[in-house]
């Protein structure tokens, strides 16, 4: 028990050490100043010019990194492997996609007020759940509330019945699979297999303009920094300690007098909301959202980003998301037929030989030669 509560901002400041704050500042400066400058101001033939491909790819991976951190919160710190994070990501994307579809206005192929796929289905008016989707604020609220609500209800019943471990993984997988089947239907009202695409503008600005892209990129970077700050604050707080304690010995925590349900439920719902934000940032950047985002394979891939980077560390998932996805875009362009071999091997190698991911590997290598300065940080992350 603390004698007097330290102000929140001080606690937040203390959750990072000085070097981490410097790194975060540097990263923010890169994303907010350097990248926009190099993309917009430098001429295309300049050696330091960043191409549109770079901006889109990196922006996309930044969104994936947010998902990876969210996954790490629930898996690395909470010990709960969710195979349903693709669902929350896609739900966020779909919610924001509704707004983007309405922004097309009458510029679609059928020049109707309704989105093209509804005209195609011969619908006369918007279904009730599309009400208000032309308002940015309402949709922003939907992005946060709908996945949070689904996660809360599902999590409440699952954690209350003390479903955990593999059982939880399998039923989250079933949930995502069921949602995918649902979204594949045309009658569900989300465009069936084609999903949403052909977006034209966002908040009135053309969506493919370089300036819009850069703003979206910068927003994704900010969201990632915010996610990292929040996650760091959480895992170093008392809440984080209880959470890791639940991960390591749930029964003992219960016998001491904590109720694991609320701890798990909070981190689960928060994780779902972070995924949804990432999804909402992802959709305008890639310009499409369809039900295959909810496929079983996608959700499991999120887990491998975290596993490769390093569970129970916060920088690990970000690294993992970048490494795996850069490898993916390189493979699928250069050797498409070897990508699954590589990914499959990655799954096996990461689980067999890299229990702490590349961060753990790096720490282990460093510890062997210079004095073990990092051991304390690692121990903090790995076991509270």
């Amino acid at each position: 028990m603390m004698p007097a509560r330290t102000p929140f901002i001080v606690r937040l400041g203390r959750s990072f050490d000085a070097r981490s704050w410097q790194m975060a500042g540097l990263f923010a400066a890169c994303a907010l100043i350097a990248v926009p400058f190099m993309h917009l101001a430098l001429p295309p033939d300049h050696p330091l010019h960043l191409s549109t491909y770079f901006i889109t790819l990196t922006g996309k991976i930044l969104c994936y990194a947010i998902v990876a951190v969210a996954m790490d919160l629930i898996w690395g710190y909470g010990g709960i492997l969710s195979l349903g994070h693709g669902l929350f990501f896609a739900l966020g994307g779909y919610a924001f996609g509704m707004y983007l579809m309405r922004q097309i206005g009458r510029d679609g192929s059928y020049q109707s007020d309704l989105p093209d796929f509804m005209v195609f289905l011969d619908w006369q008016e918007l279904p009730w759940f599309w009400a208000g989707s032309d308002s940015f604020l309402w949709v922003a609220l939907l992005v946060l509330v709908v996945p949070a609500l689904i996660a809360f209800v599902f999590g409440y019943f699952a954690f209350r019945s003390r479903i955990k471990g593999v059982y939880f993984s399998i039923i989250t997988q079933a949930l995502t699979y069921a949602a995918m089947l649902l979204f594949f239907r045309n009658e569900t009202g989300f465009g069936g297999n084609n999903g949403f695409t052909d977006f034209k503008r966002i908040l009135g600005y053309p969506i493919t303009a370089p300036e819009t892209r850069v703003v979206l990129f910068a927003l994704s970077a900010l969201a990632l920094i915010g996610t990292l700050l929040l996650a760091r604050y959480l895992v170093t707080s008392k809440f984080g300690r209880v959470l890791t304690a639940i991960r390591d010995a749930e029964s003992r925590v219960m016998f001491i007098g904590y109720h694991p349900l609320w701890y798990k439920l909070f981190v689960w719902t928060l994780s779902a909301m972070l995924c949804a934000i990432a999804g909402a940032l992802y959709v305008p950047q890639v310009g499409i959202i369809n039900p295959s985002e909810m496929s079983v394979a996608n959700s499991i891939e999120i887990a491998i980003w975290v596993a490769v980077g390093g569970r129970g560390t916060l920088i690990g998932p970000v690294l993992g998301a970048f490494l795996v996805n850069l490898a993916k875009s390189w493979f699928t362009v250069s050797f498409p037929e070897y990508w699954l071999f590589f990914l499959g091997t990655l799954f096996i190698v990461a689980t067999l030989y890299l229990p702490q991911g590349v961060v753990g590997l790096w720490l282990r290598l460093r510890r062997r030669e210079p004095p073990p300065a990092a051991a304390a940080t690692e121990a903090k992350g790995a076991r509270a």
């Binding site: 898996w75 492997l81 599902f154 019943f157 699952a158 209350r160 019945s161 003390r162 479903i163 471990g165 593999v166 059982y167 993984s169 399998i170 039923i171 997988q173 079933a174 949930l175 699979y177 069921a178 089947l181 649902l182 594949f184 239907r185 749930e250 029964s251 079983v296 394979a297 499991i300 887990a303 491998i304 596993a307 037929e337 070897y338 699954l340 071999f341 990914l343 499959g344 091997t345 990655l346 799954f347 096996i348 990461a350 689980t351 067999l352 229990p355």
Partner: protein, 532 residues
């Protein structure tokens, strides 16, 4: 009609088959230009001498009846016969003029031919004919049907003929005859008969199609009883397709019941082990086609051991190389086996191509049993149900009657204790995993007969098979069996109401809710466990 009646009397008086030849006068009208005359002639001919008429009418139907010099001639394989006396004409006369027929005549002709075949000595021919007659019976055929019914002894065919008779009497001008006919037809379970009866209960404009109210009421009753029977057949059909789906789920899940249910290893590559089995079936088919084309129909029998061994081998390698190092870490096992599944999928794609390969059903699995007129049970489904029962029994026997099974159970219940009394736990793990994988291979062989065989085929079954095992409860086989059958039948009945996709969603949601209520599944192991 009167002429017809006279002829009929004549025929009834004359002994069966007494005419060695046909009266040429009967044949003459066949060449008439007037369709009505020809139709009457066909009926007359059929009545007069069924046995001799058959070849003539057949020839007429096949455009092989000709006229030359006022004589009717039948052409068969280039030889020419006199239609009346059935003697061959040599040399064939010149100036043959084939008799053409129009559709109206052809319809009557085929009905008459079917009626004639009712007198055939072979049962299948008579059965076929009786079925054809039921569809086209009209008042003109009544006397023939009466005669056939009198001669028929086979109960099934008699039943058919009575229906045909009733149908033919529907057009009678006597209300009592119609009434009796409508009531007899109520015993049918053929949807086409229902169609036939519906006009009797309808109004055309302001007037009832059927004037007699008693007949109308009887028609209504008959329609309802037919519909009831149809609904029954429908339910039976659903129950069977549910059983069939259940047996497929069972085959897909049985291997998982060993690896996950008994050993506690989450194997996400289970679907790919099914794929290995299915590709083995394809490989055996190719081998048989190349080296044993005569025995091609039996490739499936050879595929059973090959599929088992191939999948078991893959399973043993997986266990030795990867899973062995991850015991006690189920979440890591899940990820690693997912990696293996991606790897195996890509191997299949590289070796056999990304397209689905074609696995043909052997001839002995084609066709089916017709239980009711609108209920057909295909042989391949029946065989798969039987196969899954056989696999289940074999697996039960291995687990409960053999030494290996005893060791597997011992290791599952208490690993250190089993090790202490000398059970080689490591080797048992490998063998048990190989067994589970091999059973998945058997499931794959069966699946190759009803589903597409391609690199992605396993992905479709992984969620379903886990649902079966989770729903059934971990640790024994009975749960998996009940869960598979229950899910299969439940899904199929739901599909009837809601369509396939919604049914699947409802089932998944149902399982999710069910697990909340009973996390241990349908059948929990008795006893108390302390979680690690």
């Amino acid at each position: 009609m009167r002429k017809f009646g006279l002829l009929l009397c004549g025929w009834l008086l004359g002994a069966w088959g007494a005419h060695a030849a046909i009266d040429p006068e009967l044949l003459k009208p066949l060449a008439s230009d007037d369709s009505a005359v020809r139709i009457d002639a066909i009926a007359a001919l059929a009545q007069a001498s069924p046995e001799e008429a058959l070849p003539v009418l057949k020839a007429l139907a096949e455009d092989a009846l000709a006229v030359a010099g006022g004589r009717m001639l039948r052409v068969e394989d280039g030889r020419v016969f006199d239609a009346a006396s059935n003697s061959e004409l040599r040399p064939p006369p010149a100036g043959l003029e084939t008799i053409g027929i129009n559709n109206r005549v052809r319809r009557e002709l085929s009905a008459a031919l079917a009626a004639l075949r009712l007198f055939s000595a072979e049962r299948p021919v008579r059965w076929q004919a009786a079925q054809e007659v039921t569809l086209s019976a009209d008042a003109k055929m009544l006397p023939l049907l009466d005669k056939a019914l009198a001669a028929e002894s086979d109960p099934e065919i008699r039943n058919r003929l009575q229906l045909a008779q009733a149908q033919a009497s529907l057009g009678s001008s006597d209300a009592a005859v119609r009434h009796a006919a409508v009531r007899t037809l109520g015993e049918s379970s053929d949807p086409r008969v229902r169609q036939l009866l519906i006009p009797f209960t309808e109004k055309r404009g302001e007037v009832w199609v059927e004037a007699d109210s008693a007949v109308r009421a009887a028609a209504g009753t008959s329609i309802r009883s037919i519909e009831q029977r149809l609904a029954w057949a429908d339910h039976l059909g659903r129950a069977f397709s549910g059983l069939s789906l259940g047996s497929i789920l069972l085959l897909a899940a049985l291997g998982l019941a060993i690896t996950y249910g008994v050993m506690g290893v989450i194997n996400m590559a289970h679907g790919e082990l099914l794929m290995v089995g299915a590709y083995s079936a394809w490989a055996m088919q190719s081998v048989f086609r190349a080296y044993l084309p005569g025995a091609l129909d039996w490739y499936l029998l050879a595929a059973i051991p090959v599929g088992f061994l191939a999948a078991a081998l893959v399973g043993v390698v997986m266990e030795r190389l990867v899973i062995r190092h991850l015991y006690g870490r189920p979440l890591e096992t899940l990820l690693a086996t997912w990696g293996i599944s991606l790897f195996l999928m890509q191997v299949a794609r590289t070796l056999f191509g990304a397209q689905n390969v074609e696995v043909a059903n052997p001839v002995w699995m084609a066709g089916g049993i017709e239980v009711l007129p609108n209920l057909m049970l295909p042989w391949n489904r029946i065989i798969i149900v039987a196969f899954s029962i056989a696999v289940l029994v074999a697996m039960w026997a291995i687990l409960n009657l053999t030494r290996l099974g005893m060791f597997v159970r011992a290791v599952t219940q208490n690993r250190p204790m089993a090790g202490c009394v000398g059970v080689p736990t490591g080797r048992i793990d490998t063998l048990a995993f190989g067994l589970g994988a091999g059973i998945a291979g058997l499931g794959g062989v069966a699946l190759s007969q009803i589903a597409n065989v391609g690199p992605d085929m396993g992905q479709g079954y992984i969620v379903d098979s886990f649902m079966v095992v989770v729903l059934g409860g971990v640790g024994q086989l009975a749960g998996a069996v009940w869960a598979a059958l229950g899910l299969g039948v439940f899904t199929k009945f739901l599909e009837g109401w809601t369509g396939a996709v919604v049914a699947k969603i409802v089932v998944l949601v149902f399982i999710i809710i069910f697990i909340q209520k009973r996390p241990q599944g349908l059948f929990a192991l008795k006893g108390r466990f302390v979680e690690a």
